[in-house]
């Protein structure tokens, strides 16, 4: 197979997070506008300078990216709508990067945002996918909690992971979240709190689950020259991958699509797992973070429980992971949950992460995972970001 082109010459800049709220009376349109404006202001870019626009959202209905152009007064010549939930960020990034390389767009704004009104989570569940409607929800209507309970149950049986192992990961993320003023969870979490939490869908308990909330995230993709001309800190793209419906033959999901593309991920970025300064996994449930730690090559399959036992996953630890607290502690703002790791990684490698800054971080791996269409997450993505220009 022909080696794909690398992503050289492309800059990713102006990360912006609109602080999350548990419930919001505002719409997805409002949240997206807030994040977009935040990134534009950060880079000194006018709305009319945007000629590429990429949107990920679950709660825009009946609108899509198309409706948003008129709603927000944008006139892009390149438009993308990314319906891939937790895998959205790397997917949006690599497509936007190709548009920049090809000259189809000069500046692409990639935004993800969702509102969370009372009952909007329940409504989203009921129309999530056809297979879910036909073959998953009629069985106890546990939503993603039930699906991930099954994966967690199988993972524990297969690899001997314990609830304490998952708990270590959650506790470390809460430590990180306490440094992030925008995180919804503000109280420290102990391993005892984790173990004794209210059961949700055995073996999943309260602190294995993310809290649905409203929020939005945005970043800009442009050429390095453009970023330099505008004098904004930026990251470069070492590599980026996406994969859908991988390993369909597996009876139950214990690995994701990353395993199919991991060699190219590191080869294109000219690095290895030991060069990664921090990892942002998609953490809707801790078992999925463990799966990513394995599938992205930080340890062998089934060894993530031992890996979290022997590593410190906090900001100042030897394996900084989900440095802003991740979704488990900062909240899951719908499709913005797919962006939280990306936006934080851009901050990290550009030295703008503030209280969550990992010292001298120059290489970050961002991983995405999304869309429980039936019994497993269908989409996976990842990208390696490197320092372009620090603040």
């Amino acid at each position: 197979m022909k080696q794909r082109l690398n992503y050289e010459g492309v800059a990713i800049a102006a990360p912006f997070t609109m602080p999350y709220q548990r419930y919001s009376i505002d719409t997805a349109h409002w949240w997206i506008a807030k994040a977009l404006r935040g990134s534009l202001d950060a880079a000194g870019v006018a709305p009319t300078d945007i000629d590429g626009f990429s949107v990920a959202s679950f709660t825009l209905a009946p609108d899509t990216a198309v409706g948003l152009t008129q709603h927000l007064g944008l006139c892009p010549r390149w438009l993308d709508n990314i319906p891939m939930g937790g895998a959205s960020a790397s997917v949006a990034l690599r497509r936007a990067a190709r548009a920049i390389q090809a000259g189809d767009a000069n500046i692409v704004a990639c935004v993800a945002g969702d509102t969370n009104q009372i009952d909007s989570f329940r409504n989203m569940l009921s129309s999530f996918s056809r297979f879910a409607m036909d073959a998953s929800y009629p069985y106890g209507y546990g939503g993603p909690n039930a699906n991930f309970a099954l994966l967690t149950d199988c993972y524990m049986q297969t690899y001997g992971a314990t609830r304490e192992d998952f708990g270590r990961l959650c506790v470390a993320q809460r430590d990180n979240a306490l440094r992030n003023p925008n995180a919804l969870m503000k109280k420290p979490l102990t391993l005892d709190d984790y173990i004794n939490a209210r059961p949700i869908a055995d073996p999943i308990a309260l602190f294995d689950c993310v809290m649905p909330c409203a929020g939005s995230e945005c970043f800009l993709v442009m050429s390095e020259e453009e970023a330099q001309r505008r004098q904004v800190p930026y990251a470069t793209i070492g590599s980026a991958i996406e994969r859908h419906n991988a390993h369909a033959e597996d009876d139950i999901q214990l690995r994701g699509g990353w395993t199919m593309d991991i060699d190219e991920l590191y080869a294109m970025a000219e690095c290895t797992p030991t060069d990664i300064d921090l990892l942002q996994t998609y953490d809707d449930y801790p078992v999925i973070s463990m799966m990513q730690i394995e599938d992205l090559g930080f340890c062998a399959k089934g060894e993530a429980p031992e890996f979290v036992r022997s590593h410190d996953l906090t900001v100042n630890g030897d394996f900084p992971h989900n440095t802003s607290g991740g979704q488990l502690s900062a909240g899951q703002a719908g499709a913005a949950g797919g962006f939280i790791g990306m936006v934080e990684a851009i901050r990290q490698v550009t030295g703008t992460a503030g209280a969550t800054q990992v010292k001298e971080a120059s290489t970050a791996l961002v991983s995405g995972f999304g869309m429980i269409n039936y019994d497993r997450g269908v989409c996976s993505s990842a990208s390696i970001l490197k320092t372009g220009a620090r603040a």
Partner: protein, 418 residues
């Protein structure tokens, strides 16, 4: 092991009766094949005609060869439990009110992995048998049960929710005069029914079932004439709030087609009993039953019609009677739609010619009351919608499914002339 389900205590009239809630009803059209199979108690999955792949969830194209020639076929109902969970909380009221709820994933021996309900007696990683049953929304759902029977297995709440089990329930049989009534009453009591009410019209006339019914403990004979709206309403006022299963076996029949009769007298009577009788019963008993589908162990659960299989395709020897049954069958479909929102099931038992006086001129095979009783109790226990009782009923069903027009031609032979 499952705890034995005990008879419920007397209902506390001061407590609010729970409003009916239901599991999700929405399905894609492809998925309704599962419900159609569940209506008859079959475990069937989609199979690709081109590459023979068995697939699940149901699709519009084969996930192996993208062929679109897909058929529902009966499949070996065995598999292995892969993973399971107990859902403690749900945003859907039906499950929230019934939590904790066990579900999991099963690797079928036929290939696909399915998410399904899990019986509480299934052990981790054990071999399981799959049931395809209608849930309270009237949709087919899969339940894994232990392959080896366990004690009081039917009393598992998740399994019972997928049935209309007569156990601990109060049942009304509408027509004491029907030759099958004493046998039905006995079979239901044997299946655990707590009370069998039997409606009796024209109580002043002697009939052969009276002594037989009087001899059965737990049977209460009450006045009911399904052709008389006042009589139906009166009985509904007395027992409508404690009728959990209604079995409409009222039947008026005379042989003959249109030209065998000089007037519409018998036809009117057939419609009064077989069609309008069902309507009167539904108008009087339906609302109370619909309001009680979430009323605990002895909740209202099913409406049963016993119909001639010639409701599907007319038999001119009994042409007018067949027509009244076709009307009744059509009305039962309306009732299904109307009861669906409450989760009250409508089960039709289609019967071939029965072995009684009005079918005397027909040759065997004929259906005897014990066969009807077995089909009916089994159908309730398995929560079926369509039950085919006797060889003739199954034969007509199969011909009708193969080609309704061919069946009609077969049924309407004029006989060889000179």
């Amino acid at each position: 092991m499952t705890d034995e389900l005990l008879p419920p205590p007397r209902k506390d009239p001061q407590k609010r009766t729970l409003s009916p809630t239901r599991p999700p009803e929405a399905r894609s059209r492809a998925s309704l094949g599962l419900s159609a199979a569940a209506a008859e108690g079959r475990f069937a999955l989609q199979v690709c005609a081109e590459c023979n792949t068995v697939q699940y969830p149901p699709r519009d194209a084969c996930s192996r060869c993208i062929g679109t020639d897909l058929h529902w076929q009966d499949i070996a109902a065995t598999g292995q439990l892969l993973a399971d969970t107990v859902i403690q909380t749900s945003t859907k009221l039906y499950f929230r009110e019934r939590a904790p709820w066990r579900m999991g994933s099963v690797k079928l021996d036929a290939g696909p992995v399915v998410l399904c309900h899990i019986h509480s007696d299934c052990e981790k990683n054990s071999a399981v048998t799959m049931l395809n049953r209608l849930d309270a929304s009237g949709q087919g759902v899969l339940l894994a049960i232990p392959t080896i029977r366990t004690t009081h297995m039917e009393d598992d709440p998740q399994l019972r929710a997928l049935s209309a089990d007569p156990r601990h329930r109060r049942i009304l049989i509408t027509d004491a005069w029907n030759p099958n009534t004493p046998t039905l009453a006995n079979a239901l009591i044997e299946a655990g029914a707590s009370t069998v009410f039997v409606g009796e019209s024209e109580s002043w006339r002697p009939h052969p079932n009276r002594d037989a019914l009087a001899a059965i403990d737990k049977v209460e004979v009450l006045p009911l004439d399904v052709t008389d709206t006042a009589s139906v309403k009166k009985l509904a006022g007395e027992i409508g709030g404690k009728t959990d299963i209604l079995i409409n076996n009222a039947r008026f029949m005379r042989p003959g087609g249109v030209l065998d009769r000089g007037d519409t007298g018998f036809a009117k009577e057939e419609m009064e009993v077989n069609y309008l009788g069902m309507m009167r019963l539904a108008q009087a008993f339906g609302p109370a039953m619909c309001a009680r589908t979430t009323d605990g162990v002895n909740s209202a659960v099913a409406w049963v019609n016993i119909l001639s299989v010639n409701a599907l395709s007319n038999s001119p020897d009994y042409g007018c009677f067949s027509a009244s049954n076709a009307a009744a069958y059509s009305l039962s479909q309306s009732l299904r739609g109307e009861f669906r929102g409450a989760g009250l099931r409508v089960m039709n038992v289609f019967v071939g010619p029965t072995d009684d006086a009005w079918y005397q001129p027909l040759p065997p095979p004929k259906v005897l009351p014990p066969a009807i009783a077995r089909s009916l109790v089994d159908g309730l226990q398995r929560g079926l919608e369509d039950v085919w009782c006797g060889d003739v009923a199954k034969d007509v069903r199969d011909r009708w499914r193969r080609d309704p027009k061919v069946l009609e031609r077969e049924m309407t032979n004029g006989g060889d002339g000179a």
